[in-house]
C-alpha cells in the first residue's frame, strides 16, 4: 500500500495508458509527473481539467500522444509554450487534443465515478467546441423534451493526485481546495496518491475529503510533492516558479537543460511534425 514513488509509478503507469494527474491549482502531483518523465513513459493520453506546467513538462518531454482537457495555461502567467510547440509545430511529437469546458470535464469525471456511461449538463450551446469535439452530443429529456448536452464518462486507467496525509492503511485525507480529485480517483481503474506525510491517525479537519483505502491502489510519501503548487497547511504556492517557467519553456534548448538538471531526464529526440 505505502510504496516508494518510483515503484508506485512503475507499477501503475504503463506506456499508452490514459493518465489523469488532477489538482485544481492546489495539490498538483508534480513529483509524480516528474517520475513519469524519468521513467520515460510514452504514448500517454493525458487527462486534466487544467493542464499547467507539469503537463507542459510531460508534453515537452515527449510522454504524451493525446491531451484531454478544458484549460491549458500557466495560471496567472499566460500560455504553455511546450504545449503550444506540440500543437503548432508537432514538437517533440504531434499532440492530439480533445477539448472541453470545465463544466463538461467535471461532469465527465462525475459520470466516471458514478459508473454511468455519460453525464448531462447545460453546456456548450452555441460554441465552436461542439464542432471540434466528438465527445459532445445532445440528449433529450424524456419528461420535458428539452435538449441538453451529453458528454461521455471519463475513466482513466490511472489517476494520480497529491494529498496532505494518509494513514498506514492507505486512507487519504486532503483539504483546502479539493477540486475534482475525489471524482478523478473514483473514476479510475487504478490510483496513486502522493502525500506530504503518512501518519498514524487522520485527525479530522474541517473541509476534508477522505479517500478510503479501498479506492487507492498505492500511496507514496513525497513531502513537497506538489511544489511549486501548494499544499494547504504545509507550504505556499511558489508563484515565482510559475513566472520563471515562462522563459524556460519558450526555448527548446533551455527546456532540455531544465529537463536534465531538474528532473534528471534526457531531452526527447525531436519527432516528426504531424
Amino acid at each position: 500500500m505505502i510504496v516508494p514513488l518510483d515503484e508506485g509509478v512503475r507499477e501503475l503507469v504503463g506506456d499508452g495508458d490514459t493518465v489523469a494527474l488532477e489538482g485544481f491549482t492546489h495539490l498538483i502531483p508534480v513529483a509524480a509527473g516528474h517520475e513519469i518523465i524519468r521513467q520515460g513513459r510514452r504514448d500517454l493520453t493525458l487527462v486534466r481539467m487544467t493542464p499547467d506546467i507539469v503537463y507542459d513538462q510531460l508534453i515537452g518531454a515527449g510522454c504524451a500522444a493525446r491531451l484531454v482537457f478544458s484549460w491549458g495555461g500557466n495560471p496567472g502567467v499566460g500560455s504553455l509554450h511546450r504545449f503550444r510547440d506540440a500543437i503548432q509545430h508537432g514538437w517533440p511529437r504531434p499532440l492530439e487534443i480533445e477539448e472541453h469546458s470545465h463544466a463538461g470535464m467535471a461532469n465527465r469525471y462525475v459520470a466516471g465515478a458514478s459508473g454511468l456511461p455519460f453525464a448531462v449538463l447545460r453546456g456548450y450551446a452555441g460554441t465552436d467546441l461542439v464542432g471540434q469535439t466528438e465527445t459532445i452530443k445532445t440528449v433529450e429529456c424524456p419528461f420535458t423534451g428539452e435538449h441538453l448536452a451529453a458528454v461521455p464518462a471519463l475513466n482513466p486507467d490511472v489517476t494520480i493526485v497529491h494529498a496532505q496525509r494518509a494513514d498506514r492503511a492507505g486512507n487519504v485525507q486532503l483539504w483546502g481546495i479539493t477540486g475534482i480529485q475525489k471524482e478523478a480517483v473514483l473514476a479510475a481503474q487504478r490510483s496513486l496518491v502522493t502525500v506530504e506525510e503518512v501518519v498514524d491517525e487522520l485527525k479530522p479537519v474541517a473541509g476534508q475529503v477522505i479517500l478510503p483505502a479501498r479506492v487507492v491502489s498505492a500511496v507514496a510519501e513525497v513531502p513537497g510533492g506538489s511544489r511549486p503548487s501548494y499544499a494547504h497547511g504545509y507550504y505556499a504556492r511558489d508563484n515565482s516558479a510559475y513566472q520563471d517557467w515562462d522563459a524556460v519553456s519558450r526555448d527548446r534548448e533551455r527546456f532540455a537543460e531544465w529537463l536534465e538538471n531538474e528532473v534528471g531526464a534526457q531531452a526527447p529526440l525531436p519527432g516528426k511534425a504531424g
Partner: protein, 252 residues
C-alpha cells in the same frame, strides 16, 4: 501608461468594471482583470459582493489578490469551499449567479468570445489556453461583463473560434439555443464601455473614458463601430478607488 490625470488606462478600465457590480450581487469571477475589478468593487462600493471562483470557493473575500484561480487565500476566506463539480452544477448551472466576469482574447461585434485559438483550430497560428469555465459562465449567469483591452487584434468582425457565446449572430440566437442568461450586457475596455444595442444586439459604444475620442475607439475596433447618440464620459477614478486598486495590485 499613466495619463495626465495620474492613472493608467488599465486602472481606468478596472475601476469602470468594478462599477458594474453592486453589493447585492453574486459574481462568478474569472482570473486576471476580472478578479482585480471584482476585488476592487468588494473593497469600495460593493462590500456585500458575493464572489465565487471556479475552484469551488464560494463567498470568498481574499485579503490579497490571488494570482491563480485556486490560491490558498481564496479557500481560507470563503464562506465554504465546494468541489469543482458542485460549483458548476449546483451554483452556476441553475442560474443562481447574477453576473459572470470574463476576459477575452478576441471579441466580436456580437460579443462572442474567443479564448481558444487564433487562426484555424486544426492548424492554429496561436494556441490559447481554451475554454475553462467560460462557456457555461457566459450561458448561465444572468448577465455577463467582459473586460478586455480594446485594439484591432482583440476586437474583430468575427472571432476565429466561439469559445463562449455572446449574442451569436444577433437577436433570438441565445433564446433559440435555450440559454437562460441574457449574455454580455457590457464590455469594458481601456477606452470605454460598449453595450449591446437592445434591438440588434450589436455592441455599441456608450461611454468613453476621459481623454479618449470616438476616433480612438473606432481605430481600435475591427468592425464599423456603432456609437450611441447618448455617448457619455466615464467618471474619473476617485482617489480612494485608485489607492485601493494600487494596494491590491502592489503598484501602490
Amino acid at each position: 501608461m499613466t495619463t495626465a490625470t495620474g492613472y493608467t488606462s488599465d486602472e481606468m478600465m478596472t475601476v469602470a468594471a468594478a462599477h458594474a457590480l453592486t453589493s447585492e450581487m453574486a459574481c462568478f469571477v474569472g482570473i486576471g482583470l476580472p478578479s482585480t475589478a471584482a476585488n476592487l468593487a468588494c473593497r469600495t462600493h460593493a462590500p456585500g459582493l458575493w464572489m465565487i471562483y471556479e475552484s469551488g470557493t464560494l463567498g470568498t473575500r481574499p485579503d490579497t489578490l490571488p494570482l491563480s484561480i485556486g490560491d490558498g487565500v481564496l479557500a481560507e476566506t470563503a464562506d465554504t469551499v465546494v468541489s469543482v463539480p458542485e460549483v458548476f452544477n449546483y451554483w452556476l448551472q441553475p442560474g443562481r449567479i447574477d453576473v459572470g466576469f470574463l476576459g477575452a482574447a478576441q471579441i466580436d461585434r456580437y460579443a462572442n468570445i474567443n479564448t481558444t485559438v487564433i487562426g484555424d483550430y486544426a492548424d492554429p497560428k496561436v494556441r490559447l489556453p481554451g475554454a475553462g469555465g467560460a462557456p457555461e459562465i457566459a450561458a448561465s449567469c444572468r448577465e455577463v461583463v467582459v473586460i478586455v483591452r480594446q485594439n484591432t487584434r482583440a476586437f474583430v468582425e468575427r472571432v476565429d473560434f466561439v469559445t463562449s457565446l455572446g449574442h451569436g449572430g444577433g437577436p433570438g440566437d441565445r433564446e433559440r439555443l435555450g440559454l437562460r442568461g441574457f449574455g454580455p450586457t457590457r464590455v469594458i475596455t481601456d477606452l470605454g464601455v460598449l453595450k449591446p444595442d437592445p434591438a440588434t444586439r450589436e455592441l455599441t459604444l456608450v461611454q468613453l473614458h476621459p481623454g479618449v475620442t470616438v476616433e480612438d475607439a473606432r481605430a481600435a475596433t475591427g468592425w464599423d463601430l456603432a456609437v450611441s447618440p447618448e455617448l457619455a464620459t466615464t467618471p474619473e477614478p476617485t482617489a480612494e478607488e485608485l489607492s485601493v486598486l494600487r494596494s491590491l495590485t502592489g503598484r501602490g
